[in-house]
């Protein structure tokens, strides 16, 4: 169960909103925490029944925060409470919302304040704040880091991805010997094998960082403190591996002695 919401501004101010609070700011309702609506694209054709599915895409998220202003009249009046709230939730401002949930991971989401409507002259004054989160997923603030060694056999590394939305990963390879390349095999829960092949030679002491995160894909090698793109080392036939909810089997294959690597990913949730 959700028990606290934290709002942080870009200026570093943080407002804590415990859900059980009875004075000050009272969280009356939060809308827009379910999975967002998907837009489905399809085509209809003459002489054919139904439609042909083309693609689907999830829209941005709209969170509505309804906060009651409960003044105790000894420290802050309702007006002062409302004015203080402006510091955190002024329309146009960019904020981070952190949701604390019992028995579940804490999650973050970034949004931009769209509107701030308050009712001042009522018995129960409240503020309704609308936030638009252009990236609709909630994500775990702490990335998961898994360490492993390359294999020259069929040994797999099992990764239990606890999110509900697929997530890319950042692979870091720190070869302690010369490495001609490697192949990362990925077997997601649906069983369809995907492969990412990297064929640019690496030398002992190099650091390779390869990201498959959507919108932030790259392959960069640091050699003698100089970083450069080695995207051309990724085979054009490679799949940009995404972890899917459930058990994902990864196999980092390379000939010869094991080479250390790490896989880092952010757990993402489509709704809480």
């Amino acid at each position: 169960m959700l028990h606290k919401v934290e709002i942080s501004t870009e200026q570093g101010l943080t407002l804590e909103l415990p859900l059980e609070s009875l004075s000050g700011y009272v969280v009356k309702d939060i809308e827009g925490l379910d999975p967002v609506k998907a837009t489905l694209v399809s085509s209809s054709f003459a002489m054919m029944d139904g439609e042909q599915y083309q693609s689907s895409r999830r829209e941005s998220r709209n969170i509505l925060l309804k906060l009651g202003l409960e003044s105790d009249y000894s420290t802050l009046t309702n007006r002062e409470l409302r004015l203080q709230l402006y510091k955190f939730l002024m329309p146009k401002s960019h904020v981070r919302l952190r949701f604390f949930i019992e028995d579940a991971p804490t999650v973050d989401i970034y949004g931009r304040v769209e509107s701030f409507d308050s009712t001042s002259f009522t018995k129960e004054p409240e503020a309704v704040i609308s936030l638009v989160c252009h990236q609709p997923d909630f994500y775990s603030p702490t990335p998961v880091v898994i360490e492993g060694l390359t294999v020259s056999d069929s040994t797999e590394l099992m990764v239990n991805y606890e999110g509900t939305v697929e997530s890319g990963l950042i692979l870091t390879v720190r070869p302690d010997r010369d490495l001609s390349g490697f192949v990362m095999h990925h077997r997601p829960p649906d069983g369809k094998m995907r492969t990412l092949e990297f064929s640019e030679p690496l030398a002992a002491g190099d650091i390779l960082k390869l990201s498959t995160v959507t919108g932030g894909k790259f392959a960069r090698r640091t050699r003698e403190a100089i970083e450069e793109s080695v995207l051309y080392g990724v085979s054009p036939y490679s799949a940009w591996i995404q972890l899917f909810p459930g058990l994902n089997a990864l196999r980092m294959f390379s000939e010869g002695a094991p080479v250390p690597y790490t896989v880092e990913y952010t757990t993402k949730f489509g709704g809480i």
Binding site: T39, V41, S43, F45, A46, M47, M48, Q52, Q54, S55, S56, R57, T214, G215, K217, F218, S229, L231, Y232, G233, V234, P236, W240
Partner: protein, 389 residues
């Protein structure tokens, strides 16, 4: 669809998978083009500047950015619209002539050979050997190909071409248009190699058996919402080509030389720029024939065809067909058209990724003709007889 930015060795160094829209078109006998609309940020403005080369994960063609428009609208949206042409456009920056001489002299480049070999020769002389200037040499050109051999034979007719000074692109394009050839300048993955090819395409109609046929037809559920347009308003089938030392009557390919009356559509071609020192004879005839065919190629029957090919369709570009291949298009009325894949368009936007070909008429086969597909006919009802030797 993903877009990659190349470094100066034609290797991918940046990947872009988040943009508003990308339209990528590659063509058989001309350069292709693309348009990318992406959010304008310092990073994208740094990345997309003129002369930068880009590729996609769907294609082996390289596009060169030539125009970048950075737009800020009243709603605060900043978009970068990036457009460019495929690498074949570099041929438009090279001049096709055999050497430097004053324009008072005859500057036409006279070459004899098959049309395909003449086009290759022009490319090699200017862009590989650099006969005009070593600086004209296109880097990374290597002999080779990523494609298997095409099955349609190149025209083996030996011609004498009198090529006026023009760009290598115009010269090759014109030759290719007349003789149904295509050309491409493609990247060999990240190997810092470019392959230049003149090619014909493969026959993927039902009239052959070496390749799996590619047939677009409403009956096969892979062609819908068809629009067809046929026009002969600008059509000419005979060219009278006049030069200083002679004239030639040239017939369009496949036209009956006995065409008379209303069927005869004559085109006048002025070829007085042909070298006056070439006397009447086989060499002049060959040059005038080439001129006539060139002019007639621009006055073909117009046949426009538009149809939607569902994404779930049975054929995939690069696997089942390629640019230049001839495929079949069948209408519900029984007409079979032999079409050539002249263009492949890739679109990626808010509605997802789509890819579809543009088909141009190669041969129109009407129902009932010997070449036609026997639509709705049964053996017992056939009225034709076997040809006798």
């Amino acid at each position: 669809m993903e877009l990659y930015v190349l470094d100066d060795r034609l290797r991918r160094i940046e990947v872009i998978d988040r943009f508003e829209s990308l339209i990528w078109t590659e063509r058989w006998g001309a350069f292709g083009d693309f348009e990318l609309v992406i959010q304008s940020t310092p990073e994208t403005r740094r990345m997309f500047v003129p002369d930068i080369q880009v590729v996609t994960n769907e294609s082996d063609r390289v596009m060169v950015i030539d125009t970048v428009e950075n737009k800020h609208d009243s709603e605060g949206r900043s978009t970068l619209t990036v457009t460019g042409r495929s690498l074949e456009c570099v041929l438009d920056d090279r001049i096709a002539t055999e050497g430097y001489s004053g324009l008072s002299e005859n500057t036409n480049w006279e070459l004899t050979g098959t049309p395909g070999n003449i086009a290759r020769y022009v490319f090699n002389k200017i862009c590989v050997e650099g006969i005009l200037s070593q600086e004209d040499i296109i880097p990374f050109i290597t002999e080779g190909s990523n494609y298997t051999d095409t099955t349609i034979a190149e025209p083996d007719q030996v011609i004498t071409a009198s090529l006026p000074i023009g760009t290598v692109y115009e010269t090759i394009k014109e030759l290719c248009e007349i003789y149904s050839l295509g050309f491409r300048l493609i990247r060999n993955f990240d190997q810092s190699q470019l392959f230049f090819e003149i090619y014909t395409g493969s026959d993927r109609t039902a009239h052959q058996s070496s390749l799996a046929p590619v047939i677009f037809s409403p009956d096969l559920d892979n062609l819908n919402n068809v629009t067809e347009l046929t026009s002969v308003s600008g059509h000419k089938n005979v060219a009278y080509v006049f030069s200083k030392n002679g004239a030639e009557v040239v017939y369009a390919s496949g036209v009956d030389t006995q065409n008379t009356g209303f069927k005869r559509r004559v085109l006048y071609v002025n070829a007085n720029d042909v070298d006056s020192e070439i006397p009447a004879g086989p060499e002049l005839s060959s040059i005038l024939l080439n001129r006539g065919l060139d002019a007639l190629a621009q006055h073909r029957k117009l046949y426009a065809f538009d149809g939607e090919i569902p994404q779930s369709g049975s054929y995939r570009y690069g696997i089942d067909y390629n640019l230049g291949d001839v495929v079949e298009q069948r209408t519900e009325e029984g007409a079979t058209n032999i079409m050539r894949v002249t263009e492949q368009i890739f679109v990626s936007d808010g509605e997802g990724d789509r890819s579809y070909p543009t088909l141009s008429l190669d041969t129109l086969i009407t129902p009932g003709s010997w070449s036609s597909w026997d639509y709705n006919e049964t053996w017992s009802e056939a009225t034709e007889t076997w040809a006798t030797a």
